[in-house]
Symmetry: C2
């Protein structure tokens, strides 16, 4: 530690599960952090909504304040951990305008207002660090931005929401229904009372927007991400997938489609059981990255949790502190590529399609001709009996690549067909 530097003042906005852990780590590891940085870190204040709320870690009263401006303007580095869009956006703006670097874990803020925040930061010469905004403790922002800075990312497939991975994993391993698995996730604290943000795919969509922007040097807003949740996934989907050698995961898929366009989408997805992502169980996260030169990389770890996320925040705080002493800047968020973002209709992928059809001679030929008319090639077709009494059988078809547009036409046809008793649903297939 060089005693000739004055302490670097850290302003914490928020004292929830992540904020209180960041506070604790900075206090407990003060000497070690000072050694690594070359100056002491000093917490200049902790912004809370109420001075009396109970917290995981008892932050001494003298640090707490409800006065945002005093914390922000009295700090060299502002750590925003309150989440949501407002007042976080105003606070981040105020911090940057006052010349502070900002560390944030706020995915919603970045997925909605990333471009204006990065533009403001560049204008005032400040830096925004956000490793904790995607996949908790897993280093993914820095590797994408810096380690792959000389490479061309072609595809990212991420399990970036622990709640949905836990639910799907439970459904697969115990045979539970979606509702039962969700209830268990809620009991264990993996899912919130209102689980919409997680199970509806919106949390993952925010992360997909952040990852695509970074990987493809293009502005991607959360609204640009096609989003489908896991609510409609049934045991039938999971069992058919299993029989065909697949497992069902909620994936954020960010892909370079051609030289001029990309796509970003979040939906339940079949991936082969042999794919590295298939072995990501429980509430863990993993991000699988394909690049032209480096090939396939995977980053795996805890995707959430107060202390795990605090590690990512603190890594950013240390780098920001180092920059506070030594200057310089990392690569800026660049949007020079300005690639167009394809709508879901133009996406080409493979599908698992399930339907119940009449158990009569010639039915298969009718179904096959409907696929053929739309030029959708069938890779595998599994027919299975529902029960010995039933006049219908179950068909599970896995297609070769086709566009969403063609698939929607197929679904319309199947729904109108006399031989189809019930169209059961479709799930996209990736990673083959």
């Amino acid at each position: 530690m060089r005693a000739d530097y004055r302490p670097i003042r850290i302003g914490l906005l928020g004292a929830g599960s992540v904020g209180s852990q960041v506070f604790k780590l900075i206090q407990e590891d003060a000497d070690e952090l000072a050694n690594r940085i070359g100056a002491q870190l000093q917490i200049s204040g902790v912004l809370v909504r109420s001075l009396d709320a109970s917290r995981d870690y008892s932050i001494p009263k003298e640090f707490l304040t409800t006065d945002a401006e005093s914390v922000i303007l009295g700090s060299d580095i502002v750590v925003e951990l309150i989440g949501g869009i407002q007042p976080a956006l105003d606070y981040v703006r105020m911090a940057l305008e006052s010349g502070s670097d900002v560390v944030t874990a706020n995915k919603a803020l970045l997925a909605n207002h990333g471009p204006e925040i990065f533009e403001l930061a560049e204008r005032v010469g400040a830096q925004v660090y956000y490793e904790a905004s995607v996949a908790g403790a897993i280093p993914i922002i820095r590797p994408l931005r810096e380690s792959l800075a000389g490479d061309t990312v072609t595809r990212i497939m991420g399990i970036v929401n622990g709640t949905t991975n836990f639910i799907l994993d439970q459904m697969e391993s115990t045979g539970a229904s979606f509702d039962a698995a969700l209830e268990q996730a809620q009991q264990l604290g993996y899912a919130e009372a209102d689980p919409t943000a997680d199970v509806g795919g919106f949390d993952a969509a925010a992360k997909a927007a952040i990852l695509s922007s970074l990987a493809f040097h293009t502005e991607v807003h959360i609204d640009d991400v096609y989003t489908e949740g896991i609510e409609k996934i049934t045991q039938l989907d999971i069992e058919s997938a299993k029989d065909a050698g697949y497992t069902v995961k909620l994936l954020a898929v960010c892909e370079r489609v051609d030289d001029d366009s990309i796509a970003a989408r979040v939906h339940p997805t079949l991936i082969p059981q042999t794919h590295p992502l298939a072995s990501v169980r429980g509430a863990f996260n993993a991000v699988f990255v394909e690049s032209e030169a480096s090939g396939e990389l995977m980053f795996y770890g805890a995707g959430a949790g107060g202390i795990e996320t605090a590690s990512a925040v603190l890594g950013d705080v240390v780098m920001a502190a180092k920059r506070h002493l030594g200057g310089g800047s990392t690569l800026n968020e660049s949007t020079h590529a300005k690639l167009s973002i394809l709508p879901i209709e133009d996406i080409v992928t493979r599908y698992q399609v399930s339907l119940e059809v009449k158990d009569e001679p010639g039915v298969l030929a009718v179904i096959a001709s409907m696929f053929a008319e739309l030029e959708i090639s069938v890779e595998t077709l599994e027919q299975s009996t529902i029960d010995s009494e039933s006049e219908t059988v179950l068909l599970t078809v896995i297609t070769h690549e086709t566009s969403e547009r063609s698939l929607q036409k197929l679904i319309e046809k199947l729904n109108q067909s006399e031989v189809v008793a019930e169209f059961k649903g479709q799930v996209r297939v990736e990673g083959v």
Copy 2:
């Protein structure tokens, strides 16, 4: 791209499989790299041993030179890809002393001379980037140094040598002997004609030294790393491991033992089949990191290969170029922790021990009492018949934690015992 900056001059030392790919990527992606950096990269020269040698990628003659000094002194950033210790060390010194930042993929150089190189860099205000020195394309140096800068790493277990992982994987999946699997690796180009550096564990040991130094802020020289190769691994070891639910991998294990000491070792290791490292097949690499706050992380990808390693080198070149424009520095290699490095005798771990014993009543009791005398607890003991004619049986014991010192005493006892026909060997067990 900002046209107001003059191009940043990149000097390449070496035009082998990595160097020629770096050259190619810089030329082909010139505009995109310029957009990301804010200035053009310009290759100022490529140092080769002979102007006439054939190369993977045809570098135009006008770039090639055998004059090291002209390349080094005529560059802003020097990329050292010649490998080995000399003349690489002299070239890196010359580059740093002339004020250039250095990018290197040279693990031997860093594992032997890291401290003096980092000290020189700090003294002259230069930076050394070495992402490509460990695990090829996998980002591991930057995540350890920066993303985990606020965390305390407790343990790293890495599959950091693709050759040995390929050989062990072949032995397990096809039942091949070590010699047969090695021959196959050589035919496929995964192993060199003289495979000693890989199969003897020395390549992995260099990487273990680099990872431990970084993770524990302590000087760790390659000679500090206990090193054991895979030459003695037999089908018996692999089958016994498989039966007990384990798989055999050559691991680099870097661990914090207590507040004052660490250990670094490379040896064949049993890990549970359910451990994330167990599914790393073929020539892939993966690094598993345990930290106090972030928990378990894993980084997975191609550990070698010209173009994959070139991606890591180019990421470093882009970051060095950015620093050339904007100044600043990343965290320096710090050795402030000065932890002591334990010799192998003091390491405590678990072991699989295999021995052939007489098939007589009371023999098990004799063996069990030898373990008990040394206070080595037995977790599992498997007895298996060699063949119906044999007067001996095979015993496979997995122990609880014990010190290497105690284990060596046990082996001595077993070797002297009348009931032991043959002591077959021991393999350490981790990741339980």
